[in-house]
């Protein structure tokens, strides 16, 4: 069944009138191609990072397949459904975040999981990565844009409350990303540049104050960023080794499977958060550049698709989700390069681990659904 036939059959089942001419494909070929390219590239690098352990590789391939299915499911859901259910989803997520703080399961020193013993265990923060932009877009979509101050404040609250709950778990990385997703909606909705400028300035001035709100381990990560040698065997080890891995890769890299930093285990977390260092070491500047260009293609296509969406809600959601994806990639690479403190953000679609891939691809499924909204409109 080709993509187009698939679209048609979905339209048939939705009970809506079949469009007069084949309009926008449900699965955007260019976005899909770029995503598949990133996934394929990521699997090749992972093959090296896990030291050719096929079992791990198969597990990851299975997770990614699952994530692609999630994307398809997200893509066929009508944008109206998203609009209708956004508040409910958001409230549910928020309730679960409070639940995590009250009865959550602790692992690795952070309380991030909700568990129904023997049944399921998951991170509500993953759900919020989608629910927050949907909710903020829902709130702003039928208000006059650019938003007025009151609306702005409500939108900010909708963003920052869940972000704050997540930071308290503590999971600073995800908290910041979720705040970013909500803020992306607000900025796309036309928040005056002047206000953005003030906000950035105010944040910069308040930065020293945040120092006192941070946990000790978070402070040490910031100290480490500026002076990794202060604790070379402890906090500084990761960043020293990742910079060494990337730097020693040079322009063309040491060759796949030839990276001494990653293959001899000097590079920690080489399969997960620090996998970009494996690319930098084994495939060099060229290898990282290819990945960056693929990411840029995804962002460009996603943003373009969002501009084509027919409703404000659809545009805001599609644009924000695309930008969030970019922020993921940027924060991860900047962190591994020693430009940002170490926060737990995986490299999108490349790092080993399934949860983030499922959320990301479901996000792109929503982007596609929003883009294809015109299919439904044309019917009227």
């Amino acid at each position: 069944m080709s993509g187009r036939d698939f679209v048609r059959s979905l339209s048939d089942r939705s009970g809506l009138a079949v469009p007069e001419r084949p309009s926008v494909a449900l699965i955007d070929p260019l976005l899909m191609a770029a995503i598949l390219a990133i996934i394929g590239y990521g699997l090749v690098v992972l093959y090296s990072a896990v030291e050719q352990d096929m079992a791990t590789l198969r597990a990851q391939a299975l997770r990614l397949s699952l994530a692609l299915v999630a994307m398809l499911v997200a893509a066929v859901i009508s944008p109206r459904l998203y609009l209708r259910w956004a508040p409910a989803l958001y409230v549910l997520g928020l309730a679960m975040l409070v639940g995590v703080l009250l009865f959550g399961v602790t692992a690795k020193g952070a309380q991030r999981w909700l568990e129904i013993p023997g049944v399921i265990r998951f991170q509500p923060s993953e759900l919020m990565k989608l629910a927050v932009p949907l909710m903020v877009a829902w709130y702003l979509h039928d208000r006059l844009l650019p938003p007025r101050l009151l609306h702005l404040c409500v939108a900010l609250a909708l963003t920052l409350v869940p972000a704050f709950l997540i930071v308290r778990q503590p999971d600073l990385g995800t908290g910041i990303l979720i705040a970013g997703a909500g803020l992306a909606v607000i900025v796309l909705a036309g928040l005056p540049w002047r206000l953005i400028g003030f906000a950035v300035l105010a944040l910069a001035l308040a930065a020293p104050g945040f120092w006192y709100l941070l946990e000790d381990y978070q402070r040490s990560r910031i100290v480490t960023l500026f002076d990794p040698e202060s604790d070379p065997l402890g906090a500084g080890w990761n960043i020293i080794q990742s910079k060494t891995a990337i730097g020693s890769g040079g322009v063309f890299g040491k060759g796949l499977l030839q990276g001494t930093q990653s293959q001899l285990d000097f590079l920690p977390e080489s399969q997960t958060d620090f996998i970009i260092a494996v690319i930098g070491e084994e495939l060099g500047l060229v290898g990282v550049l290819i990945l960056l260009l693929l990411y840029l293609v995804v962002v460009a296509r996603g943003l373009f698709m969002s501009t084509q969406a027919p409703s404000t809600f659809a545009r805001l959601v599609a644009g924000a989700l695309t930008l969030t994806f970019f922020v993921y990639a940027f924060v991860n690479i900047a962190m591994v390069c020693g430009l940002l403190p170490v926060v737990g953000v995986p490299l999108p679609l490349v790092s080993y681990g399934g949860t983030s891939a499922i959320t990301l691809l479901a996000g792109f499924g929503i982007v596609m659904a929003m883009h294809a909204e015109q299919n439904w409109h044309r019917g009227h």
Binding site: G190, T244, S248, Q261, L292, F304
Partner: protein
């Protein structure tokens, strides 16, 4: 398409336009972000590539030094005096241990782990350089412990057994002064040693042969270029440069003679040095009391070390090479030869010995050693031969006044007085040969005729070591051939420290007849007996009655003028430590000597009665089997 909410109109096209501008702007920011990342990557991968490339190699490539096998030390019969044996250490890799205290407690149930071991372990743990570095917990465990640890291996994750070779001295304290020993390298040693060649070495020769031949015994360090992973495990060996073992050396020492000499001295404080006069080879070197050098290798606790270093009997002190004593009458043959060489006397000349001596115009009386026992007024007519076998002080008092003091000291210097003649005992003390120049410079006093008189019987400021007196015995035995004492017999490789054989030197002055007559007189010391009152050699009564070969000897009894500094004694012990030192020098067979020696018994009393029997026991042990075999 317009929609209405509240009182404001919502302009869809305007919103779309606004959105598009925003999307383009944010895309522009994304591009800026990518450019920032690229700039950082270019910085790391292009500009700083060299730095990180080196860092990455430093991570994985390690130059591991391989310790060389220390050269073995044998005695002249091939008996091992110093060997290397494996020692097992228990190391802990902290990264593989989840509960360190729990593991140490668990280890304590398998082998003995003291609180000191644990605190030393944590100290070393704090100094480790890389993750997964094995940190020593116990430095020396028995093979039984190793077996027990292996059985319990599954309960002790992160525990490793390390093996290394360390020095071992199978004879313990018997050779500790002669062969010396290695000690753990200290901070001060590191300032002197080449850090590269000692990078894999923990011990360095600190005494005796081990010190002198350190460079040759140590060998050349090897190197192994290995690739390691972050856990410190060796993944592959990239290049190997094997170490070169140290030279094996064979010493002149004869362990059987050493054992005999040690036994002859028994519990008494003192020293014995035996030399083969034909080669200068040191056949035995005993200093008593002694210590077990292995203590310094397996680890000596503070209390043990304090006991050893502060003991009144100074077991760490090598009396044979470092103990300096007045030679007493053993110096008389030197005075005799000096006088003969300078024609101050001859074998035929006699003097009247009244039992005391006075310098012209002085009231002070210099007594003969026999003064108290004999109030008959001396030994009567005494010639040089009798002055030696009866050890007449008066004869030598008188003789010394007929020579310039410089003649005597100059001649004594050629026998090695005031100098270290040994080829390969670098730190042997030179003793003291006082001269008018020395006295003026050191004491600020002029040389009095009385100083010469005192010196003629080996008293006053004159000091010698047992090694020096054994050398004197050896030179007389070889009738003036100045053979320098040495430890080394041979080695399997040429040694840096040994600069070839020097041309044999001779003591100039005395005639052939003088040497033979002196040896005859010294034979009389031992063998002349049953000749009536005051006619027997001084040592005859003690060793001369039952002797199967001709021995030449000379006794000496040195007054203890000073108690060694830094020591305090109770009243009772004061007397013991103030008693005279007993000396005996000897060689045999007298006509073709094969062994020459000196014996010192500290505070032993009379040389003939105390030291001579020791000398005979040692020479018996060496000579009798050889004479019987002939």
């Amino acid at each position: 398409m317009l929609s209405v909410r509240g009182d404001s109109l919502k302009d869809s096209d305007h919103e779309r336009q606004l959105y598009t501008v925003r999307a383009v702007a944010l895309f522009f920011f994304a591009v800026v972000g990518v450019v920032v990342l690229l700039a950082r990557l270019v910085q790391l991968q292009v500009w700083e590539y060299e730095t990180y490339s080196v860092k990455s190699d430093e991570n994985r490539i390690q130059l591991q030094p391989i310790p060389p096998q220390r050269g073995l030390i044998f005695d002249r019969n091939g008996v091992l005096l110093a060997e290397n044996r494996p020692v097992f250490a228990v190391n802990v890799v902290a990264e593989r241990v989840t509960n360190l205290d729990g593991l140490l407690a668990e280890l304590g149930r398998v082998v003995t782990v003291s609180a000191d071991d644990i605190s030393a372990f944590y100290e070393r743990l704090g100094r480790k350089l890389r993750p997964y570095e094995p940190v020593p917990l116990l430095l020396d465990v028995s093979e039984g412990d190793v077996a027990r640890l292996s059985v319990n291996r599954h309960r002790l994750p992160g525990v490793e057994i390390g093996t290394r070779m360390v020095r071992h001295y199978p004879y313990g304290e018997l050779f500790s002064h002669a062969v010396g020993s290695v000690r753990r390298i200290t901070e001060e040693d590191l300032a002197v040693l080449d850090p590269a060649s000692y990078s894999a070495t923990a011990f360095v020769g600190k005494r005796g042969v081990e010190q002198f031949y350190e460079r040759s015994l140590h060998g050349e360090v090897g190197r192994e270029l290995v690739e390691i992973d972050a856990r410190g495990r060796i993944r592959q060996v990239l290049r190997t440069h094997p170490p070169t073992a140290g030279s094996n050396v064979t010493l002149q020492l004869d362990s059987r003679l050493q054992i005999a000499a040690h036994a002859a001295l028994g519990e008494r404080r003192g020293a014995i040095v035996a030399i083969d006069p034909r080669s200068g080879g040191l056949l035995a070197m005993v200093s008593n009391p002694s210590y077990d050098p292995n203590l310094f290798i397996s680890g000596i606790d503070t209390q043990q070390f304090r006991d050893l270093s502060t003991a009144r009997d100074t077991p760490l002190f090598n009396r044979a090479t470092h103990g300096q004593y007045a030679p007493g009458s053993t110096f008389k043959p030197i005075v005799a030869l000096a006088a003969l060489a300078s024609r101050a006397t001859s074998w035929g000349e006699t003097i009247e010995d009244k039992g005391f001596f006075k310098l012209p115009g002085q009231e002070r009386i210099y007594r003969d050693w026999s003064w108290r026992k004999n109030d008959s007024g001396g030994q009567g007519r005494v010639d040089l031969r009798r002055a030696i076998y009866r050890s007449s002080n008066v004869y030598f008092y008188d003789l010394s006044t007929r020579m310039e003091i410089e003649t005597l000291t100059g001649f004594a210097a050629s026998f090695g007085f005031g100098a270290n003649l040994a080829v390969d005992i670098a730190d042997a003390r030179p003793g003291l040969l006082p001269t008018p120049v020395w006295k003026q410079g050191y004491k600020g006093e002029t040389w009095f005729p009385g100083d010469t008189v005192n010196m003629s019987i080996g008293q006053g400021d004159l000091l010698v070591t047992p090694l020096q007196l054994a050398t004197v015995a050896s030179i007389i035995a070889s009738r003036g051939v100045k053979v320098r004492p040495r430890m080394l017999l041979s080695s399997d490789k040429p040694l840096d420290e040994f600069d070839g054989e020097a041309q044999a030197e001779y003591i100039g002055g005395p005639s052939h007849y003088d040497w033979e007559a002196l040896v005859d007189a010294m034979e009389d010391v031992v063998h002349r007996g049953n000749k009536g009152f005051q006619q027997s050699g001084t040592a005859f009564a003690y060793i001369g009655r039952d002797i199967g070969y001709r021995m030449a000897g000379k006794s000496g009894t040195a007054q203890v003028v000073e108690i060694r500094q830094g020591e305090e004694y109770s009243e009772e012990e004061l007397t013991e430590y103030q008693r005279k030192h007993a000396w005996f020098i000897a060689f045999a067979p007298a006509d073709a000597p094969r062994i020459a020696l000196s014996v010192l018994v500290e505070n032993g009393g009379g040389g003939s009665s105390v030291a001579a029997p020791v000398a005979k026991e040692v020479i018996d042990a060496y000579l009798l089997p050889r004479l019987a075999a002939r």
